[in-house]
């Protein structure tokens, strides 16, 4: 680049890019929020109708002609519900239906047909949900199911109760949803154009003073985002008010209809209807936004709007930071430099892109997600929560880490001696270290020993030995694990047969920590020898015979030759192999999981299997993630230390 870059042009471009990103995403968020509000409004209106209907059907006793009359009268009065069906579990009967499919010989009342089983199942789901919530005294399972219907409306189902028990269900469909309000694109366009033009004008007197340009551009961007945020919130708040007014209107209208139906069919005193509870959530908890007289509770509305405002501020705050980052990135020339680098090394980046992209998506992104998870207390119950909740509702800071690392109750001293706490991380870490050291030591020792023997020149049947010794590596390790588990079987296992052969008593391998761990280590040791043997053999074969020749001429003994020629030549191959196999063994999940499964009482668990149990047996996802982060930290510390000592990654 011979020409000196213009700061003015860069910041203008940066501002435009930032505005497009900032305002564009803000607008998209706003449109989405309005679509959601529109849907939520339709749901609440439909719920009011449904709850009013359920109220009437329950008054009519849930079964019989009075239910059919009530449903018919209700359908006549309320045109927004297209297919009302009432099902009673007792006798699997369709008690009433206004659905067009249920005319003629299929008219209610009749027994449910086989293909209508989903309807019955839905009722049973609702019954289970109601019972669960009552038992737990909490709102955990939704007591009303809402799903999109085939015609573009909603399909809702509510439980039908009699004397406190769920005896059936009421399912309805609504007319197609009203289309969401159009959000004008003029506002975002203006929000993007005005500051951009303003910058072009302001930039003339500033000329090429870089920092002044930066401040002006940032101020314009900030102002735009604040203004657009206010506009967006005003729109959302307006929508919310419309919702409350609509729902209030619906409650009043529904109350009038219900009382007229109730008095017409003499279903008890219409005054005992309770429209206040009709506006409820999916757990049938009244929202209490609408006063009994049909007006909106202003205090409640203000509260809900304050919540919406806080969320809007959060989202717009994040978007503003993003937009400022874009501005700085382009304005200060990083974008130009990045572009230049990418162009210059185009080939290298093209070749690495597929692998790097995949790694980002399926290795580094999950890692980051897991790292965030480790600061939350996400569990099975909250696993469906949106990502934003991880940073707010579910965020527990360092609690998981202090719980894990700050728990020093490794053992309690009792009259019977020490009682170990097998769930404690320091116990598990100790087991993991024993496991790793034993396996790697055996692997290296035996592997090197076999390699030295096999390297003997002219040894008979050398290739046959080699092939046989490699077999454990070729076998899938989960099969090996299950084979050894079978061989350690207490009653039928081969090892106990051998012990009995010599008059011993059979050992219950998995009922004591020491024997259980021994079984696991024996399995893993068996399969970790070939890797080291192959590596050592390769390195041994690359040692020049001249070296030994020279050493012999100098009168060196066999041992001296081994010490000063063989070992140093093996080092470059063995050191990385040892580092790798320490890391692999430390994280070797299959053997422990399949051979001992942590028995007895999680005492032979290693860190990685313990983390798995926290995640998939106790479903404490956040805690398990923190536990895994601790494992990662240990391995990273080990890797950095090894790297310092051996300089394995130098010169890459």
């Amino acid at each position: 680049m011979s020409q000196k870059p213009s700061h003015r042009r860069r910041f203008a471009a940066g501002l435009v890019a930032a505005l497009v990103v900032g305002v564009g995403l803000s607008h998209w968020t706003l449109v989405r929020a309005r679509v959601q509000e529109n849907r939520a409004r339709a749901e609440r209106v439909a719920l009011v109708s449904l709850n009013a209907l359920v109220d009437l059907v329950e008054r009519a006793g849930g079964v019989g002609d009075s239910v059919r009359r009530a449903v018919a009268a209700f359908a006549r009065e309320n045109g927004s519900l297209t297919a009302i069906r009432v099902v009673a579990f007792d006798g699997l009967s369709l008690e009433a239906s206004t659905a067009s499919a249920d005319g003629g010989d299929k008219a209610a009342p009749r027994r449910l047909a086989r293909e209508e089983k989903p309807l019955y199942d839905q009722g049973q789901r609702l019954r289970a949900a109601v019972e669960t919530n009552r038992q737990e005294g909490a709102a955990r399972k939704e007591e009303i199911e809402i799903a999109p219907s085939a015609s573009g409306g909603l399909a809702l189902a509510a439980p039908l109760e009699k004397d406190g028990a769920v005896v059936g269900l009421v399912a309805v469909e609504t007319t197609p949803l009203p289309s969401p309000p159009r959000t004008s694109w003029l506002a975002p366009l203006a929000a993007a154009l005005i500051p951009a033009l303003a910058f072009l004008v302001l930039a003339v007197p500033i000329a090429e003073r870089r920092w002044v340009l930066a401040v002006v551009a940032a101020a314009l961007l900030l102002g735009t985002m604040v203004a657009y945020g206010r506009y967006a919130f005003a729109t959302i708040a307006g929508d919310r008010r419309v919702t409350e007014r609509t729902v209030a209107g619906e409650v009043t209208a529904e109350a009038a209809r219900a009382s007229s139906v109730a008095s017409e069919l003499s279903l008890g005193d219409p005054r005992t209807l309770h429209p206040g509870s009709w506006d409820a959530d999916r757990f049938r908890r009244p929202l209490e936004m609408i006063a009994p007289d049909g007006t909106v509770h202003e205090a409640k509305l203000a509260e809900s709007l304050a919540g919406a405002a806080a969320r809007t501020r959060q989202v717009f705050g994040a978007l503003t930071v993003l937009a400022l980052a874009v501005l700085a990135f382009v304005g200060f020339g990083s974008a130009t430099r990045l572009g230049a680098t990418l162009r210059k090394h185009r080939q290298a980046y093209t070749y690495t892109f597929p692998a790097l992209f995949g790694m980002l998506l399926l290795v580094f992104l999950p890692f980051l997600y897991g790292a965030v998870l480790s600061f939350s207390d996400m569990s099975l119950y909250t696993s469906q929560a949106p990502i934003g909740d991880l940073f707010s509702k579910l965020w527990v800071g360092l609690k998981n880490f202090t719980d894990i690392l700050g728990d020093f109750h490794v053992a309690t001293s009792t009259a019977a001696g020490l009682v170990w706490n097998y769930q404690n991380i320091y116990w598990t870490l100790g087991i993991t270290i024993i496991w790793t050291v034993a396996n790697v030591a055996y692997g290296v020792g035996m592997g090197l020993f076999l390699a030295l023997i096999l390297n003997t020149k002219g040894l008979l049947a050398r290739p046959i030995y080699r092939v046989i010794f490699i077999l454990p590596w070729a076998m899938p390790n989960y099969i090996t694990a299950l084979i050894w588990k079978g061989m350690f079987h207490q009653q039928f296992g081969v090892f106990n047969q051998i012990i009995q052969m010599f008059g011993g008593t059979p050992v219950s391998w998995f009922e004591k920590t020491s024997t259980s761990l021994f079984a696991c280590i024996a399995t893993n040791a068996w399969l970790s020898v070939p890797f080291m043997m192959v590596i050592s053999l390769g390195a041994l074969q690359s040692i020049s015979a001249d070296l030994y020749e020279a050493a012999r001429v100098d009168g060196a003994t066999r041992w001296q030759q081994f010490r000063s020629i063989t070992l140093p030549s093996l080092k470059p191959a063995l050191v990385p192999a040892v580092i790798l196999s320490v890391i692999w063994t430390f994280n070797m999940f299959n053997i422990i999981y399949l051979v001992s499964a942590g028995e007895p009482g999680h005492s032979t668990e290693i860190l990685i299997t313990q983390a798995y149990k926290f995640a998939f047996e106790q479903y404490r996802y956040g805690y398990a993630a923190a536990y895994s982060m601790v494992i990662f930290a240990i391995l990273l510390a080990y890797g950095v230390w090894q790297n310092k000592v051996t300089k394995a990654t130098e010169g890459i």
Binding site: T341, H345, Q347, A348, Y349, Y351, T352, P354, G358, M359, L361, L362, V363, L365, P366, F367, L373, L452, T456, K457, L460, Y465, F469, I470, L471, A474, M475, P476, Y478, I479, T480, I483, K485, G486, M487, H489, F492, G493, Q497, I498, Q500, M501, W526, I535, G538, R558, P572, A577, I583, F589, N590, Y593, L594, I608, A615, Y621, A625, S628, F632, I652
Partner: protein, 294 residues
């Protein structure tokens, strides 16, 4: 070591004794699984032991030779159990993983070996560090990404992507080490003759790196063929199980069908062992080229 040849094979007898003992240790578990597989029964016992067993009865019970030869475990595992389907799933997943994994690893490793570019060292180091990510940390986020975001639950593509990509770091390091040992002069002369980088890569570097590529393919295949935790997590429909998940199904939990397991294990292990032994001549050169150069 390189002992002079005047010591005959006889002097090496102790070595052979030791080697033979180790041969027994290595082969016994494998013979054992063959014995159970061909026994025609589901139990773990090789033979029934009489009430008051003698030393010889006990000895017979540990000899890896079935009391009666029978193929019934093999036939039932394919006819009564959906094992053929599981095996086919494994073949599909492993073959696709191998192709994709080798492609991704070769291209990336070539760039890391031949080009000097900003981010190269950071990229290589991050690959190394990613080997230390505990699988348990990744499983839940991966589930969310694969199943909830990409909608690839109980789908071959999801599993293939996971296997081929998580295998990249190891393969890239191995291949890069090998590429580094291939002299650059060859490529430079080809460049002088007007060959493009792509031609050089496909026509010169890849053929020369055949041992390393073969080992990469082998490892990619083995990863996919042998993995069961992720397969069990992402494939929740029985007809989408891979062979490892299916085998564990026979002897996991309360299920004790050791005969089915052994028969299935033999069928599953034979192709991979054969492939491994076939490619083992490349193993040493492919694995250690990078490391041995010092």
């Amino acid at each position: 070591m390189s002992a002079p040849s005047r010591t005959g094979e006889f002097a090496r007898l102790p070595l052979h004794v030791f080697l033979l003992i180790y041969v027994v240790v290595t082969l016994y578990p494998l013979l054992w699984v063959f014995t159970i597989g061909f026994s025609g029964q589901q139990g773990l016992m090789i033979v029934d032991i009489p009430a008051n067993p003698t030393f010889l009865d006990r000895l017979r019970a540990i000899m890896p030779w079935p009391a009666h030869f029978s193929f019934s475990n093999f036939t039932s595992v394919f006819t009564e159990q959906p094992f053929a389907r599981w095996l086919l799933n494994s073949v599909i997943v492993s073959a696709a993983t191998t192709v994709l994994g080798v492609f991704l690893a070769c291209t990336a490793a070539y760039a890391f070996s031949r080009f000097r570019f900003p981010g190269r060292r950071a990229g290589l180091m991050s690959f190394l560090v990613s080997q230390m990510f505990p699988g348990t940390l990744m499983l839940i986020p991966l589930y969310i990404i694969i199943v909830q975001w990409l909608g690839l639950g109980s789908n071959f593509i999801g599993l293939i992507l996971i296997y081929s990509i998580t295998g990249i770091p190891f393969c890239v390091w191995m291949l890069k080490g090998y590429f580094d040992t291939i002299p650059r002069e060859l490529e430079e002369s080809a460049l002088m003759d007007g060959a493009s980088t792509a031609t050089i890569f496909y026509r010169i570097v890849l053929p020369l790196a055949k041992p390393a590529v073969a080992v990469t393919a082998l490892f990619s295949f083995m990863t996919a063929w042998n993995e069961f935790i992720q397969a069990a997590t992402f494939m929740d429909k029985v007809n989408m199980y891979t062979a490892p998940v299916g085998l564990r199904f026979f002897v996991g939990g309360f299920s004790q069908q050791w005969g089915y397991f052994a028969a299935g294990a033999i069928v599953t292990a034979i192709p991979i062992v054969a492939l491994f032994l076939f490619l083992q001549k490349y193993l040493v050169s492919g694995l250690t080229a990078g490391a041995v150069k010092g």
